[in-house]
Amino acid sequence: MAPVTLKSVKKSYGEVATIHGIDVDIADGEFVVLVGPSGCGKSTLLRMIAGLETVTGGEISIGPRVVNDLEPKDRDIAMVFQNYALYPHMSVAQNMGFSLEHRGASKAEIAERVNWAADILGLKPYLDRFPRQLSGGQRQRVAMGRAIVRNPQVFLFDEPLSNLDAKLRVVMRGEIKSLHQRLGVTTVYVTHDQVEAMTMADKIVVMNAGRVEQIGAPLDLYDRPANQFVAGFIGSPAMNFIAGTITAEGFAAAGATLPLPPGTGNTGAQAVYGIRPEHLALDDSGIAARVSLVEPMGSETQVTMAIGEHTIIGVFRERVQARPGETIHVRPDLAQLHLFDAATGARLN
């Protein structure tokens, strides 16, 4: 186990810069998730930590060592790939013991470590099988087994669940998390799925266009997003955004005036009013909203509606009986209100 430190890390392909100077401190044993939309540079950053991509600028340290110029094999890391990258011509046991074998471990030691990993991951009955004879979930476990047998200082996961169906993804998510809790190895995990990020991470690094937008604990990012990008990315369904102006009477948007908490300030500023769907409540004295779609989920109801000229989504614990075209009244929870600068997207409140 070791901390990982990224200092002003940059990556360019010729003239094209893709990572613009990233600083992240990952503590020993921490589970950090790099999250962001496709093309934001999260996988590139992970591959730079692994040594599969060169570092154009800055410094990557694993423990006390700067690893910029070290080969992947010398960084004491293990990586789980998106497509598992299991060697098709080797059995499960051979796949898991492969790295130990090439690092000069004895046969007895390899067998012991492979059995230990197989035991943890429930792979003992499959040790003699080949990858083609396994299901997606089992292959994923073998990929994890291959990573843990070596007892590396850092685990790197590159979107490891993206090839699994939704149900298996939830199961594997839990398994990876419990594996981390059991082994306590520093983990860097890349995903574009913010639900994975929220449920698994000790710390989330939200990236966009090669830059870090915000670093923090999952609930900090949810409760106090630093900017409109993070606010829109974290949370599902995504936060509602309504553009308008802060006035003394409230938030003036096209076709509606929305309430603001007392002492908001910034009067006259062009801003974006952000409220999460789950922070809207049904209230007869609230703002009128015209319903366009009702989606009952059982435990909650998702309603798409228009306030003035803005379409927003509300999620209610109550069973909403309204039909499309009817009007309901909703009230935003002002304690959970987010205001962003219209020009920069930076948080105002």
Binding site: K73, A78, M79, Q82, A85, H89, S99, H102
Partner: protein, 280 residues
Amino acid sequence: MKTDLSPRMKIGLYGLMCVLLIPFVFPTWWMVTSSVKPISDIFAFPPDLWPRRFDFTTYQKVFELQPFARQYWNSAYIAALVTIGTMIISSMAGYAFARIKFPFANTIFMIVLLGLLIPSEVTIVPLFQMFLKWGMINTHWPLILVPIFGAPSVFATFVMRQFFIALPGELEEAARVDGLGRFKIFWIIALPLAKPALGAVAIFTFLHSWNLYLEPIVFLSSTNMFTLPQALTQFTDAYGGAMWNIQLAAATMTAIPVLLVFIFAQKQFVEGLAHSGLKG
């Protein structure tokens, strides 16, 4: 593929297939049966599908008239060396073109491919002069070196490159993380996975070398050094006329390894070409 053909359709289909098979099977049938016919029966019209008289002494005469066992060995060991050499060269070159980034890789590959457009007849005279200078005329070296570093190897390199291009990059990256260097990645990961393509390369290289005719007649002059295709033309009488039954007995024995290769390795051959993107 599952089909629901009626029995009548099946009979019709198999009948049609049998008819279409005749042009492919007849020459081989004619060669084998004629090899045990007296020479006068070979040109009987209409031809006899089954010999009226069997004469197996033709096979004995093949070995009496020429050092046929020696020639068989020449062909066999040359084909084996060419096959192994081509597999080594083409797999390494194919891997390099597919997986290693180096300046002008694609341009160099295109130039290498252009070698396929040059007919072997065009290069045979310069090659003869080159091997003459090196003192290799009437040795087997030209028959070994020319295919390994010539057009057959270029085609084999193309097949191997196409296979390695399709190999997932993550496998190599996983191997790098697991502690392997470039050569070990090639040797331990990429090459074992390339078995179908290597199999195809081995088959067509072996067949090409086994059937090689132009180069042996240019580079070899003593019967002890001859390979089989060249030896087949030497079964003639005092007036230069072909001794057909003996020649066909020799041809039958020459064809045996080719038939065996096709019977036992056709699946590998098709798989290899499919992996190489040469087959739809």
